[in-house]
Symmetry: C2
Subunit: 438 residues, 2 copies
């Protein structure tokens, strides 16, 4: 089957484990069949390939997430990177033309689009496959998944079907309602809109060509910036008359808040933490290398990372967004395509960073105008290039890199470097990239 996974939104609702460069889908709180920790994106990929080992999985995402996806899934998936953010219609359109023009998917094949972040079991992806099969029968242009509601929620949009059959034409869509309206919808057999659609690839490409002038994927990519920001729901779904919904009553959980995430995470404690025996219904995730001691905590979630520490009543955790925005905090941890980058000390005029590079990987060849750097290798071997000169690096070696000097390092083994940055204007924006080995 062909699946486009939408991996969007850097979010603050799972702060401090999600931030501007690290989305919730990359936090490793679940476990795979061997008991190893895995992230949402790893879990989803695993689930899809358990259902269909030959599935063509394409992740539609932004530049900022491409490294993390590569890090977590390696070369196993296609990544369709948006050159800039333009809402879901342009993103799905770009991914669809990528499937057609780059992966050779033919116009009569079915394609499903799913968000990457619901917590489900494998039966969900069985159902997505079923949707793709239904799509090929051509009974409707667009097939949606409708989640059988478990309560009259105010958090989701609703789909009102014309019948209560498993597959039914759609009567109308409803925005997030209040509880009374939601109760009324439930009496009409309404379903939650989970943002899952399936269609024949040709349908979407025709639709796209009627709305946007472009020749192929590369052309669309080059003019992506000029596209209007508009959601797929608004641009396509709500305007389509040949549309049906398939009723799904299997497992489905929205883990967008700590309250829900705490419920599904694999272990009550991840990382260095001790709970006394008076703690109840409490989960701790600790990414710091100092211990957490929790005593007498009830219905709480405690989460710590280089970005900060959350101590919250579970119920309240859903309201954190404005508070997190108030805590203006620099990003202290980032997952890169070559490894990780952790700020361990920040002062006016200096910043100390721990850089970990995986064996065989290398960072980009770059320079900084406004800071010098002192690298001390604390473990591993590698080769540094500084202004074109190669230099072997071993544990204990020190390199000083003046402002303006081009530099990079390739790791021969896993390589840890303590990097001290010194300068009055230290900023992630102070970076020029250069070609390497030309």
């Amino acid at each position: 089957m062909n699946i486009i996974l939408l991996s969007g939104g850097s979010g603050k609702r799972l702060w401090p484990l999600s931030n501007d460069v690290r989305s919730k889908q990359f936090i490793k709180l679940f476990k795979d069949n061997d008991g190893n920790y895995e992230s949402m994106v790893q879990r989803v990929y695993r689930q899809i390939t358990e259902i269909d080992p030959d599935a063509k999985v394409t992740i539609a995402t932004s530049k900022s997430q491409a490294s993390a996806i590569h890090n977590q899934l390696g070369g196993k998936v296609s990544i369709c990177v948006e050159p800039c953010r333009r809402d879901t219609f342009p993103a799905i359109l770009l991914a669809a033309s990528y499937l057609h023009d780059e992966l050779g998917v033919s116009e009569d094949e079915g394609v499903a689009v799913c968000p990457v972040d619901p917590y489900v079991d494998n039966s969900y992806y069985e159902y997505v496959r079923k949707m793709e099969m239904v799509v090929k029968q051509g009974t409707a242009n667009l097939t949606l998944m409708g989640i059988e509601p478990t309560y009259p929620s105010e958090k989701y949009g609703y789909i009102i079907p014309t019948t209560d059959h498993e597959i039914s034409p759609v009567k109308e869509f409803k925005e997030k309602p209040d509880t009374e309206a939601a109760k009324d919808y439930l009496r009409q057999n309404a379903l939650w809109n989970a943002g899952v659609f399936a269609f024949q690839l040709g349908y979407l490409l025709d639709k796209a060509h009627s709305m946007v002038e472009f020749t192929d994927y590369r052309d669309l990519y080059s003019k992506y910036e000029t596209l209007t920001k508009i959601s797929f729901d608004y641009a396509v779904v709500e305007k389509e008359s040949s549309i049906q919904v398939m009723r799904y009553s299997g497992s489905w959980k929205d883990v967008g808040t700590w309250n829900m995430m705490a419920e599904v995470m694999a272990d009550d404690v991840k990382g260095r933490a001790v709970m006394d025996d008076t703690c109840e219904n409490t989960q701790i995730i600790n990414e710091l290398n100092i211990p957490i001691l929790a005593m007498g905590c009830r219905d709480m979630v405690i989460a710590a990372s280089g970005d900060g520490i959350l101590v919250s009543d579970k119920e309240r955790s859903g309201y954190m967004k404005p508070l997190v925005e108030k805590i203006s905090t620099d990003v202290m941890y980032a997952e890169k395509s070559w490894g990780t980058y952790t700020v361990i000390d920040a002062e006016p005029g200096s910043m100390t960073v721990k850089v970990s590079i995986r064996a065989g990987e290398h960072m980009s060849y770059h320079s900084h105008d406004y800071r010098e750097e002192v690298w001390t290798v604390v473990s591993g071997n590698g080769i540094a290039t500084v202004d074109g000169m190669e230099q072997r690096l071993r544990t204990g070696d020190v390199i000083t890199i003046a402002a303006g000097c081009k530099h990079m390092v390739e790791a021969e083994t896993d390589l840890d470097i303590i990097e001290v940055q010194i300068g009055e204007a230290i900023s992630a924006d102070d970076k020029k990239k250069f070609d390497w080995k030309i």
Copy 2:
């Protein structure tokens, strides 16, 4: 007046702000008259000198606390350092002979001994002065302070007086009782034993000479290690027949647990932290440079330092000692006579430390057998000495110090250094000290 302050016990009951090298009396959670944060030891010193600007204050303490005391009080107090730990009788004896032989206090002067850690107002030290005056009248060899109990506590020892007068002979002492026994003591006008004694200096020296063979302070210091470990209560107080108690009914709080400390700290939040408006009766102390967000917390204390993070129900916080002992943690932060030492990263084979040295101060001249160090100056100026060679240090300078190499640094301005230690056996014990400038 002459006061000996006993500054003992490295404790775990205020973890993570107290640890093996940092006692609760050095945590800055109170405020002075100008609104600046102060520690318990600073507060006590300030209170005593507000009552009596000419007070001779001597702090009896261990080697491990001497640096922190010097750091916080500068040269204003005499510090009588025990060469090793030998319980309160030897400690008070050493301090008494120090007063006599080093500070020239005469034998007929009164001396009061107080623990450094109760939270009181100035009236308490007024009362201590009054005790010293009473002592000089010679009506008893030993005068104790008895705290008017506010409830039948199981946490304190009791003094049963013969009368209910302000000054009364002591009938007997009682160990920490159960609640029923405590109620019975209260009916007998009993008082809490606060560990405050006053005596004429000559009395104690006579007593001491009858029990220990020594000539003067220096002689006692040299044989300190041979003294028997015994408490002052057991060795002197409980054996003395000429003994009286003075009834104190002013403010007095034992801030040995977070529950009590949270009640008296100056601000509900110290450090980077945000509480939402559903938090109730909650205090946060954050010494880390990442923010804490607390939501929906009730009756809790949250404390974070380089050693760890505590999230506790206040009532439960009194039971933390065994749990903290379970979290075997290396000391990540230490206050030195010359500044501070903060571990910012620790891995097998390496440790990264931020060393901050105050202007004018210097560390000891020393070497390590099993590690090399790379120092990068991130701010300030100083002079390093490496194997006898002096070298000026400025921001951005890097020094590599091989294993076995003697080194030290003097700060000309406040000086911050990132020190990367590399070696298979990094340990605080791997340190040889040398004389400098001989």
